[in-house]
């Protein structure tokens, strides 16, 4: 399944659909980093609003994506984690430590704006 990646200035926005397979996640990991390189993006927002379940593989992949993207000097923000999903995740010990999170796309963009302002 293709994950749509949109460009909004210096930010890339990847919108997860529900039920991504492990193969999809692996593909996305490589694909996103390539896009960051290609467009010299400063940040990536991964929107997981449509995900109604987050397992340990998906969680680990998101952290790896954030790490790889940071190595390219860019920031990652995960947005749209649903309350039920968040609850299930922390019970499994999947806390996405070290990765920025925000309520939704709007908040994610606001967070990045603040960050870019202070570092400019």
């Amino acid at each position: 399944m293709e994950v749509p990646i949109l460009k909004q200035g210096a930010v890339l926005i990847a919108t997860f659909q529900a039920a991504l397979s492990d193969a999809d996640l692996n593909q996305l990991r490589m694909g996103l980093v390539q896009q960051v390189v290609k467009f010299r993006s400063r940040a990536v927002i991964v929107d997981v609003t449509a995900m109604d379940v987050m397992d340990s593989f998906a969680s680990r992949t998101l952290r790896e994506i954030a790490h790889m993207i940071r190595l390219r000097g860019a920031e990652t923000v995960i947005v749209g984690i649903q309350p039920e999903v968040a609850f299930a995740m922390v019970q499994l010990g999947l806390t996405l430590e070290g990765v920025a999170t925000a309520l939704d796309l709007e908040e994610g963009l606001a967070y990045l704006n603040e960050k870019f302002k202070s570092t400019n």
Binding site: I81, P83, F87, M89, V90, T101, L103, E107
Partner: protein, 304 residues
């Protein structure tokens, strides 16, 4: 009479022949006959039943008219269940009935009592009708008893299930009332917790808070536990999880009002306090929250 030299099936005695006859008179035949009898004598049997209900002093919470009305519909449902053996319909009816009478204060033993009384009244009328034919009476009872017992069972279970549902609903309502999530500023929520937290309440608290964060788009949450006397390992872990889950929704949590006992518990348990943002009291917590949100509170004049 059978001939001796024939096959086993034909060397039957007279008794066996009777049994064969009984089995060929299918239960459904007997049920139909019995249902017809119950329908024919509906008025009289129902009246008898209501008298017995009053004698046994059941359904005292209801008026005579109400008892009569309910008795009519129960009688008809009872006979219909005997006829169709459709117990799901009866179960639905029982739950419906329970929904009506539970708020009137009717108890389980009363519901079971009246159904058993009806069973007895109907059985007696069968005894009276078939008293001259003992074999037929036995066969009719063979058809009646299992069905009647199943009905009593179904109604009782339906009633109890409805009671349990009401109790659960009330418990849920009480729990929600006791853990309000309050917005005190834009993007700032306060969750004052008072009383005993058991694992179930802790879980419900977390769910309510997370929903509140999403609905109010909160960026900071102050959880005040001044009113909580003690906390065990499970609940302490739940608190940490609540903080972590809130972060996944983009909100920062400040915990305030930890009593010395709870502080001791958390340290002893080894809860990673680095993950928790704590401030002494609620006032301090709100002030820090406001700072995080970029507010500055200035006093402009003395109170009047």
């Amino acid at each position: 009479m059978a001939k001796r030299n024939e096959t086993s099936r034909e060397t039957m005695t007279l008794n066996d022949q009777n049994v064969e006859l009984a089995r060929s008179e299918a239960p459904s035949e007997l049920l139909r006959e019995l249902v017809a009898h119950l329908r024919q004598n509906r008025t009289q049997l129902r009246e008898e039943w209501v008298v017995r209900i009053t004698e046994t002093r059941l359904l005292t919470a209801m008026t005579k008219e109400e008892i009569f009305a309910e008795a009519t519909s129960i009688y008809d449902s009872y006979v219909a269940a005997l006829e169709t053996e459709a117990f799901e319909a009866l179960q639905a009816y029982a739950r419906n009935l329970s929904e009506r009478i539970i708020p009137r204060g009717v108890e389980t033993h009363e519901v079971v009592g009246i159904v058993l009384l009806l069973r007895d009244v109907l059985a007696r009328s069968l005894f009276a009708k078939y008293q001259t034919d003992f074999n037929k009476l036995n066969r009719i009872l063979d058809a009646y008893e299992p069905a009647a017992n199943r009905i009593a069972n179904t109604v009782a279970v339906g009633f109890v299930q409805e009671r349990e549902r009401v109790i659960r609903q009330q418990q849920e309502a009480i729990r929600e009332l006791s853990t309000p999530v309050l917005q005190v500023r834009e993007r700032l929520l306060i969750l004052p917790i008072i009383g005993v937290i058991d694992p179930q309440r802790a879980r419900q608290l977390t769910e309510q808070l997370l929903r509140g964060i999403r609905t109010n788009r909160a960026k900071v949450v102050v959880i005040d536990i001044t009113g909580v006397a003690a906390m065990d390992l499970t609940v302490a872990n739940n608190l940490v999880q609540t903080v972590e889950a809130s972060r996944l929704l983009g909100a920062t949590v400040i915990v305030t009002g930890l009593s010395p006992e709870i502080a001791q518990t958390l340290v002893t348990i080894g809860v990673d306090l680095g993950k928790m943002n704590t401030v002494g009291d609620l006032q301090g917590g709100i002030e820090q929250a406001e700072r995080l949100l970029g507010y500055k509170v200035e006093k402009l004049a003395e109170p009047r």
